[in-house]
Amino acid sequence: MDAVLTAFGEVLQPQVFFIIVAASAYGLMIGSIPGLTATMGTALLVPITFFLDPIPAIGAIVAATTMAIFAGDIPGALLRIPGTPASAAYTDESYRMREKGQVELALGVNMLCSTIGGLVGVAVLILAAPQIAAVSLGFSSYEYFWLALLGLSCAIFVSSSSPVKGVLSLCIGLMLSTIGIDVVMGVKRFTFGDTELIGGVSIIPVLIGMFAITEILRKVARPSRLPAPPPVRLGAMVSGVGSTIWRFKGGVARSSLLGSVIGALPGAGADIAAWIAYALSKKFSRTPEKFGTGYPEGIVSASSANNAALSGAYVPSLVFGIPGDTITAILIGVLLMKGITPGPMVFVMDTGLVNAIFAVFIIANLLMLPLGLAAVYGSRRLLSIPQDILFPIILLFCVIGAFAANNTLFDVWVMLVVGLVAFVLEENDFPLAPMILALILGQLVEENFMKSIIKADGQLTEFFARPIGGTLGMLTLAIWALLIGMSLYRATRSRRAASTGE
């Protein structure tokens, strides 16, 4: 109990609390402006967290992303444009509610369900993470190698495009992580004689390039004017919300738990959780025919699930240092820069930090209620900012952000090149999530692989000799078999489609 109070005390210090509130406001803004995703917002926040202590830095990221995932629902209900991909699953449904004159109810349900989902996710995190950490203290390099590989394989498995492209995206990330001094012998690799590359590719400019520059390029090419949002009566956002959610309490509970689990899977984040929760609630619903007509049941489920996924993603990130989604991939990058290596030892050595992260999550989810109301109130103004003004300013922000981490213009180059390459890759249906996960995990994979293979003296059977390591290894191989099977199936199917098309 003492530890919990200390954690809350630490987070509620005026300065830390101010940063959390400011980050929340920022997150609400990012989330409610269509085109700015939670991941992009986090990437842009990183240069600022660089100047903060670990706890406020993590607090800022947690608060901003929690708010952004909820705020993505606001333009969804008002304009039928999801603010972030995580809201896309139920945008139509909430817009139908607007057409029925229930826009306030939709937003109120979004807000309260986001909070409930978020809190359930935190509860799962608080209960599960230390237990898993205790088990994983006995892990050796074999287990870590398989775990990291399993995480990366999952990331490919859940990405919607072709597995081959996912693997290639993964390979790029792993290759980027090998640039610099190698972990085994300290030899310079792929530095092209450039002194800036000896320390490796820095993560901040890569993140900004991958998630912000790509989006700026798309938005600048297609300037769009948002339609005018309708007026919202705040009073109506509160009344009737409780009873609506109570009616679908089973759905809330199921989707929150489901969301936490999906979030914990590497590579699957809030958007996938929302889609699956929406589909499942339709399947389990007593009135599936009402879905798509402005019926709150699907909204209740999906908006609980996406916020739960956000918290769930922190389980593997904190316990193993294996990110559960792109946002936690960034968070791990931030922790590493602060000299904290996420892993089971953090739960032994740094319990203060772990408890503070839990406290931040609880506070951020509770803050969502008052700040969310304010955001809905201010959203008309926010949504009237023309996008053609916004994106050039964000580009300037990116340039300064990439520069600020190491105070070197070289990183601005890295940002630009990565951004352009990522843009072309995304245009050709390559998923970016495996790449960023691989870049963060690359060193962990290589280090543990090299340790293991040297220990085993080249005997690959040793990789399966330990019980947990062997199980993880078999799981990984099973996923690979599935992936290969899937791509072969796709290939034959498309060939058959091509031959019948003639």
Binding site: M185, L409, M415, F430
Partner: protein, 155 residues
């Protein structure tokens, strides 16, 4: 910028060949076949197999080698998009000699004029935006943003 899979696959095969070649030059641990080149070699091998798979599937499809998506067509669109790398490159080369406070309002104002088509409003936003970011990064976060020409004026 949609390319046929065979084109992207070819790029990956080429890249993996270069990596394989470079990785052969790395030393190995004494008395062991492994070393800094082991991991890149494995990745490059995977990359090559996947690249070949893309070439194989791309060659059978009838997708054109290179197609520009509809939304990217038009000189005006490409012009606006070219401003993104242009802006960054101009900043990299000019920020040191000219300085952030002088360069950025001009650069940002020009970019905003291109996107909004309203030069006066663009100029006002550019000046305000630069001032706000300067305040945040140079004063509050103490990032050494270059002063350039203003260095002598101030000191």
């Amino acid at each position: 910028m949609r390319m046929n899979d065979a084109v992207t696959g070819g790029v990956f095969v080429l890249l993996s060949a270069l990596i394989l070649f470079a990785a052969r030059g790395f030393p190995t641990l004494p008395d062991q076949p492994y070393g800094p080149g082991t991991f890149p070699t494995i990745i490059a091998a995977v990359m090559m197999v996947c690249g070949l798979a893309l070439i194989w599937s791309g060659a059978r499809s009838r997708v054109p080698l290179l197609a520009v998506a509809d939304w990217m067509r038009g000189a005006a669109t490409l012009h606006r998009m070219a401003w993104v790398p242009g802006f960054v490159i101009a900043y990299v080369y000019l920020s040191k000699p000219i300085g952030f406070p002088l360069l950025v309002p001009v650069l940002l104002g020009a970019f905003l004029t291109v996107t909004t088509g309203r030069p006066v409003r663009a100029a006002a936003i550019a000046v305000l935006g630069t001032a706000a970011l300067w305040l945040l990064f140079a004063y509050i976060l103490r990032v050494p943003l270059p002063l350039g020409l203003l260095t002598e004026v101030i000191y």
